[in-house]
Structures are given as structure tokens and as C-alpha cells.
Amino acid sequence: MALAIILVLLVVGSVLFHFLSPWYLTPIASNWNYIDDTLTITFIVCGIVFVAINFFMAYCVYRYRYRKDRRAAYEPENKRMEWWLTVFTTVGVIAMLAPGLFVWAKYVEVPDNARLVEAVGQQWKWSYRYPGADGILGTVDIRHMDGRNPFGMNPDDPNGQDDVLVNGPEIHLPLGSPIKMLLRSKDVLHDFYVPQIRAKMDLVPGMITYFWFTPTRAGRYDVLCAELCGTGHYTMRSHMVLEEESAFNAWLATQPTFADTQAVKVASAGGSLAEQGRQVAESQGCIGCHSIDGSPSVGPTWKGLAGRTETLADGSTVVVDDEYLMESISVPNASIVAGYPPIMPPYQLDEGEMAALIAYLNSL
């Protein structure tokens, strides 16, 4: 008896929860309403089955509870009923699969007029590349990647010179036209995920993956990484700004092209200590997470770091001096700057490298 009641209550509770709880799909911002529709169909079919079978089970538990003077029925087989149930289930499955595959066919066919945009993932940040005026993305290769060429652009490819490189925290896209997102990873698997777009896809090092969508609703949305990519996985964030074509174009014009980034002369002091430090920072991968131009990133920016007063996670403050810098490099979790995740790995550097790094940090 108690079991029958609890089963009924769980079913009723589940259905009520579905309709009353505040947690459901985020308002959609792309053309993939189809996905939401198939989800709804699936919910309806599965919901009916869920309620029907469980109510029937609760009924049986109650109606056929043990009585000493009763015998259960003896019916080893009932072919007719088994056939009916099989047919009925098959029909239900087709009702869900057919619309699903229909929408999938749209999902895999990228419209010819889709604009190309590339998202590049690395532990643990996003950057973006647009094809520039010629509409063609230049070729890239892991071998070309270094601190001055984080996108690994092929310097000899004329198509790449006008590519717009966004090494910052936002991707902007114009409303209304289909976008083909090309996805490229430098290191491990990631997944470009914006819940409001519905579509998502993994980034796989060694290959270019893609998906497409048409932005339909202006706004600023969280970009997350949905494929486990190490300690800082949960901090791999960015924002997607969907806006009118004109606003988008204005924004794009403010971003540097590949040629621009190469033209800027680094204030290279030859073999100076700070220059050696720059090389250490590059080869150790520090710049994956720390910017040198003040832009926000996974870790605090290095611009103006020396001498700055940082507030730590425990609320205390500290003035950044050489000692603090050294500690932060070799035992990062000893003091965490407020607002940043404790994900930096400890680095074992020799004295020379450390001195060079400190000199470099002081020079920024």
C-alpha cells in the first residue's frame, strides 16, 4: 500500500516539478527552435509513457498485494499482447526518431552563404579569428605558434594578412546571417558552448571541427567550455555578443589584423634580462593565462603588476614586490588574488630564469 502511494506521489511530483520548477531551457538566441521542438516532442511521448507505466505498476502493486487465499494467474505467454506492445513501442520510437533525423539533416548541411568565424581554444581561454576583407581565413600551423603569433598564422600566406585576430574576451557576431563556426584547439579537447545557441561542438587538436547557426536575438551570452580540459576547465569563459550588422562592423574595425600585430615592434632590448624573462614567460606558457596589455584573462594581467596592491581571496591585501612574485610563481596557491580560481600549476624555475622573469614583470 505504502509503496503504491509513494510510486504515485513520485510520478505526480515529477510531472508537477516539470511544469512548476523555475529551471528549464534558456530563452533561445539562434535559429535552432527545431531542436527545442524535438525536445518537446520527446518530452511529451516519454512523459506519457512514464506516467502510464508507473501508474499501472502502482495499480498492480495495490490490487494484487499478497493474500493467503489467492493464487496468481498462470500465463507463461501471451503472444498477442506481446506483439501489440512491440508494435506500439516501435510507433512511439519512430514518432521521436523521424523528426529528430529530419532536424539533424538541417544541422549537418551548412548553408552556402554562411560566414566563417573561427574559435580557437587553449587551456583555458578562447580567442577568435575572422577572415578579413577577402573572406578567406589564412592557413595556420602549430609550428608557427609563439608569443607574437598566438594563432599560429602562416606568415607567408597572403590570405592571412587581413585576418582579424581577437585575442580578447568577446566574440561579436551579426544578427540574421548564418555563421559557420570553425573550431580549432591548440592543446586538448574543448567544447564551444553557448546554451542560448543550443548547438555545440568539440574542439579537437589536429583537426578543424564546425557547426552552424544563425543568431536571432541580440544580447551578451556566456561562452563556456563543455568538454573537460583540465584543472581550469570551469574557468574557460568568454562572451558572445550578438548585435546588428552595423554595430558588429564597427566593432570588427577596431580589432587588429594579423598584419597589424606583426607590424608592432616589440621593445626588444636584445639580450637584456627582461628580454630573457619574456622568453621564459613564453616558453613556460605563462602568457596563456596572463595578458601583458591589461586585458582580462584567466589570471591577473601583468600590466602594471609590480607595485600594485592586490586583494587576496581571504580579504587581506598585499603590495606586489619581488618576494611576492617569486612565491606566486613557485607556490601559486599560497595566496590567491580575489576573484581568480586556484588553478595555476606551480613552476620549478632555476635562479637565473626566476631573476629574468622578475625583471620582465617589473618592466611591464
Binding site: L3, L7, F17, W23, L25, T26, I35, T38, L39, T42, C46, V49, F50, N54, C60, Y64, Y66, R71, A73, Y74, P76, N78, E82, T89, V93, L97, G100, V103, V108, Q122, I142, M145, G152, K186, D187, V188, L189, P195, R198, A199, K200, D202, P205, G206, M207, T209, Y221, D222, L224, A226, E227, L228, T231, H233, Y234, E282, Q284, G285, N333, P342
Partner: protein
């Protein structure tokens, strides 16, 4: 009156066994009897206790994860590294080292020989070695908690390249221990698995045709075949990844710039690993599900005092599900970057599996229908299994239907789904099975009051943990996240839910202590059970002694005259007729 025309598939004469008693190895020492034992029943207990011990560790890890998720930042010892290490070890232990080992090594060893009417497994020595290799694999795995860098934190899926690169905890030592441990697990399992298969095929007693096998044996048998075919894929991927990590080969490693450094790898394919992993990983789901299916069929039939509905179809469903489970693996990879046209194929095969699976569910429920249902503790767990399995099976249709999976993949919807279907359901089946067979194993009943308490808290608690979690996933919260921090689309109320889930998890986890207490205390203080306390038909309840002695059946092996489900046969004196009762003997003097 001859009952032959009433009882399904019962005969009067079966040729007696040619060899009445096999020559078994009889150990002379205590060590040979209880430690290096070759008796499947002792090996079963060794497997079960080891599996439950590591399972407790995995349970503890899940509580730690829930502490972090429910109350982020409160427990400072749970760092982001520690969190994903917990996630990884929890998942791997639960799936492989607990459930696979418990269902096949534990229940398989105990029940197969008894239920098919054999004296022991066919290769008792190999069977013993199998356990010791398993134990070694477990110790290797646990050792990874104590090496520099700790255990691997790459997720139980161990996806390269991150698995062996800095940026993931345990990338040097932890992962190596994990891979080597898995390799040993597979080796140990293969020894046991071949044994189970050969025993079912060759050592059944006279009259025990395949179509008279209890469904429990069918489930374990088919799961073992799946495991024998699927584990090699895991083994080779573990070996290849070890080579990538230690020798610098590039099976799974393309050209990479990791943390600013260009690595020496080039040309490998991370997606190849995923194919290998899921070629193993999907059948793995059924390796833990099929034994649960079988066990639950048994429990429902026995305690509803009614024959299982549609036995033949139940057997075929197990076989078909087993076969199909090898052609659906890439439904775990819809967003992996594989050729998107694969989606059509794998969505179709996946949804086809829904049909035989649904048939199993119908048949369980139809077995209850017009039954005479005793709500014993095993029966409560069996019904709870059906309930949660329906839930988890239905959400599987969401994730199998490729386009619906796209928004849900890698979110908490997935976590909720697979816990319902391959964590909660099989665990409920395990509990049901323990309450059901404990009287045979120890000769004593488990305490029923404690059992009911354990049942209610576990069943309702687990549902409260996982049902709401689906909605976090629909909202878009990604899985394997240490914290969600400030995220615009996640309302603050989600954190309230998370805290609630964590509290439920802690309650459920601590209630398992009651179960352990019951297990321990009832060995000496439980009510004496007698030979056949549930009035069941299958052979394990017809042994000469309880617990069964070495050799299982005393002097003569039982002969089988009928199928395993003669409950409430019209005209019979009792409401069950054991399998070893001839057709004309069912009018009452059976026992």
C-alpha cells in the same frame, strides 16, 4: 491428474547424469579453503567484499564532490584539482571496480554454478587467479592516491590528449597507475569471464536446457560475453596510451602546443581513442545492466508468486540488446567532431534498442499484473529498480536521438541520466539481490525492519538527488565543473537546488551504514532461514545444506524437469514447483 498439460514445459523423465560426482579439489588447509580458495562461492564472497570496499571509497568521493557543489568554497581542501580527481576516481571505481566486479565476479561466481546445477566453475584454479589479479588491479588503482601528483583527473573517460599533459592532475603517475590497473583488471576479468561462459555452456545439469535457464543466469551470461568482446578495446587503448605517455608515440596525440611549449607529438587522433573507448564503454553499460535485468526478473517472479511474463521474449531481448550494444557506441560522440553523417546511423541503432528494452519493462510490470505480490525487501528493491530504470531509459531516448543530444550533451542532464540508468538502477538491483540471496549464503535472514528503512531512504533519496538534476542540465549547466561561478543564465535558485541535492546525497550515503550493519550483525543474529525461505523454484534453493557446501549439491546432482518459473501452477498443492520436480510430482509431494 497429470499436470503436464497445465504446467508449461514440464517433463517426467530426464536421463540421469553419467558422472554422479565430479572429482573436485578438496583443500586440506584453512588457507586453501578460505583464502586461496578454488570454490566459486568463496571466490564470489572475496570479489563482493573487495568490490564493496572500493565502492565505499567511491561513495565517499561522491560525498566530497557533493560538498563542493552544494557549498562551493566552504571546504577549502577540495581544490579544483582534487575535485576532478574525485570525479574521475569515483566514476571509474563505481563502473568498473564495483559494479562490473560485483555483478560478474560476485553474483556470477555465486549463482551460475548453483543455478545451472553444477558443482563448481569449470576451471576452479583460473577462477581463483582471476580474483587475485582483480585484487592487484584494485590495489594499483588505490596506490594512485599516494603517488606524487595524485590520481588522474582526466574524467573516467580518460580522453587524450589532456590525460597525459600537464594541466590535468596526475598526468605523470596517476594516469600510468590507472592504465596499468585497468589492464590488469581486464586480464583478471578475462580469466573469470571465460569460466562463466564455459560453465553455462558445458556444465549445466541434465534437463537444464538453455531455455530453462533462470533469467539471472541469462543476464550474467550475456553480460560476460559482452565483456569478453568489449574489454579488449579498453585494453588496447590503455596500452596505446601508455606508449604515448612513456615512449612518446603518437597514437592519440596530434601536434600540440601545450602551455606554450610545442610538443614532439604529431599525427595521432584523439577521436580514435574515443571510438575505442566507447566501443568498450557502451557495452559496459549493458555489462552492468543485463545482470541487473536478470536478477530483477528473478526477484519479481519469485515474490509476485507468478511466472515471469513472456520468458522467451525476455531471453531474446537480452540477446538482441547484447548484440545491438556493439553498434551504438558513437552515440556518446555526437559532439566529438566525428563525421556528422554518422549521427543518422547511430541515432537509429540507438533508438532501435529502445524496443527490446521497453519489452523487458512491460514484461516486468505484466508479471506483477494478476500476481500475488509479497512486498518483501527484495521485492521493494526490484520494483524500485523498475521505476528508476523506466526514468533512466526514457531520458536515454533524449540523448540517443542525436539532435536532442546536442544541447544536452556534457551537461548535468547526462549526469542525471546515466546515474538513473547505470548507477541507481543497478545498485537497487544489487541491494534486492543481496536481501534475496543472503539467506542462502549465510543461512540467516537479514533484519527486515532495518531493510525497509534502508530501502525507503535509499530509493526516495536517490530519486530526489537525480530527478531535479535533469533540469539543471536542460538549463545548460555543464558537468565536471568545480564551480559555476558567476554565469548569467544560471539563476541563484540553482544553487539552492544544488545544496538540497547534496544534503540528500549525504543522507543516502550515511544510510548505507545501516545496510552494512545489517549485513554484519545478521550473520550471527539473523533469523534462521531454512533451505528455501522465499519458496523459490530455482536450483540454488534446492541444495542439501544451507549454506551450500563445497560441491554444492551433495551426492547427486539435481535433474531438471521444468522451466524456472512454475509459480502458482493451477492444481498444484503449493504455489511453486521447483525445477527438479518431475511433471507428475507437482501435485504436492514435491517437497
Amino acid at each position: 491428474m497429470a499436470m503436464t498439460d497445465v504446467a508449461h514445459d514440464a517433463v517426467d523423465y530426464v536421463r540421469p547424469a553419467e558422472v554422479a560426482e565430479e572429482a573436485l579439489y578438496h583443500p586440506k588447509t584453512w588457507l586453501g579453503k578460505y583464502v586461496f580458495s578454488q570454490d566459486a562461492k568463496i571466490i564470489a564472497l572475496q570479489y563482493s567484499m573487495t568490490a564493496m570496499a572500493v565502492g565505499l571509497i567511491a561513495l565517499l568521493l561522491s560525498v566530497l564532490m557533493r560538498l563542493q557543489l552544494g557549498f562551493p568554497g566552504v571546504f577549502s581542501f577540495i581544490t579544483p584539482d582534487a575535485y576532478i580527481q574525485f570525479v574521475t576516481m569515483h566514476g571509474m571505481i563505481m563502473v568498473i571496480y564495483l559494479l562490473t566486479a560485483l555483478f560478474l565476479g560476485g553474483f556470477g561466481n555465486y549463482l551460475i554454478p548453483l543455478m545451472v546445477g553444477a558443482r563448481d566453475m569449470v576451471f576452479p584454479y583460473v577462477n581463483m587467479v582471476s580474483y587475485w589479479v582483480y585484487l592487484f588491479a584494485v590495489l594499483l588503482l588505490l596506490a594512485s592516491f599516494f603517488v606524487p601528483g595524485g590520481p588522474t583527473g582526466s574524467g573516467w573517460t580518460l580522453y587524450p590528449p589532456q590525460t597525459i599533459l600537464p594541466g590535468t592532475p596526475g598526468a605523470d603517475w596517476g594516469i600510468l597507475l590507472m592504465l596499468i590497473s585497468l589492464a590488469f583488471f581486464v586480464i583478471g576479468f578475462t580469466m573469470g569471464g571465460l569460466n562463466y561462459v564455459v560453465t553455462v555452456l558445458q556444465a549445466r545439469t541434465r534437463g537444464m536446457s538453455l531455455m530453462r535457464l533462470p533469467l539471472t543466469v541469462w543476464g550474467i551470461f550475456m553480460a560476460t560475453i559482452l565483456a569478453l568482446l568489449a574489454f579488449p578495446a579498453l585494453l588496447v587503448s590503455a596500452v596505446m596510451m601508455t606508449l604515448d605517455s612513456v615512449l612518446g608515440t603518437s597514437f592519440f596525440m596530434p601536434a600540440i602546443v601545450s602551455m606554450g611549449q610545442t610538443l614532439d607529438y604529431s599525427g595521432g587522433s584523439p577521436v580514435l581513442f574515443q571510438h575505442l573507448f566507447w566501443f568498450f564503454g557502451h557495452p559496459e553499460v549493458y555489462i552492468v545492466a543485463l545482470p541487473a535485468f536478470g536478477i530483477v526478473s528473478e526477484l519479481i517472479s519469485v515474490h509476485a508468486r507468478k511466472n515471469i511474463f513472456g520468458y522467451r521474449l525476455m531471453v531474446w531481448a537480452i540477446v538482441v540488446i547484447g548484440g545491438l550494444s556493439f553498434v551504438v557506441w558513437a552515440h556518446h560522440m555526437y559532439v566529438s567532431g566525428m563525421n556528422p553523417y554518422f549521427g543518422f546511423f547511430f541515432a537509429t541503432t540507438t533508438l532501435i534498442i529502445a524496443v527490446p528494452t521497453a519489452i523487458k519493462v512491460y514484461n516486468w510490470v505484466l508479471t506483477l499484473w494478476r500476481g500475488n505480490i509479497r512486498l518483501t525487501v527484495p521485492m521493494l528493491f526490484a520494483i524500485a529498480f523498475v521505476f528508476t530504470f523506466i526514468n533512466g531509459g526514457l531520458t536515454g531516448i533524449f540523448l540517443g536521438n542525436v539532435i536532442v543530444d546536442i544541447p544536452l550533451s556534457d551537461t548535468y542532464f547526462v549526469v542525471a541520466h546515466f546515474h538513473m540508468v547505470m548507477a541507481v538502477s543497478p545498485v537497487l538491483a544489487v541491494f534486492g539481490a543481496v536481501y534475496h540471496w543472503y539467506p542462502k549464503i549465510t543461512g540467516r535472514m537479514l533484519n527486515e525492519t532495518l531493510g525497509k528503512f534502508h530501502f525507503w531512504v535509499t530509493f526516495v533519496g536517490l530519486y530526489c538527488i537525480y530527478y531535479p538534476m535533469h533540469y539543471l542540465g536542460i538549463l545548460g549547466v555543464p558537468r565536471r565543473y568545480y564551480a559555476t561561478g558567476v554565469t548569467d543564465f544560471i539563476p541563484e535558485s540553482a544553487q539552492v537546488m544544488n545544496a538540497g541535492i547534496s544534503i540528500a546525497a549525504i543522507i543516502v550515503a550515511s544510510t548505507q551504514l545501516v545496510f552494512l550493519y545489517n549485513l554484519a550483525v545478521s550473520t550471527t543474529r539473523g533469523k534462521p532461514a531454512g533451505d528455501n525461505p522465499w519458496g523459490a523454484t530455482t536450483l540454488e534453493w534446492q541444495t542439501a545444506t544451507t549454506p551450500p557446501s563445497h560441491g554444492n549439491f551433495g551426492k547427486e546432482l539435481p535433474l531438471v524437469y521444468r522451466w524456472a518459473y512454475d509459480y502458482s501452477v493451477p492444481g498444484a498443492k503449493e504455489d511453486f514447483i521447483p525445477q527438479n520436480v518431475p511433471a507428475s510430482g507437482d501435485t504436492g509431494d514435491a517437497r
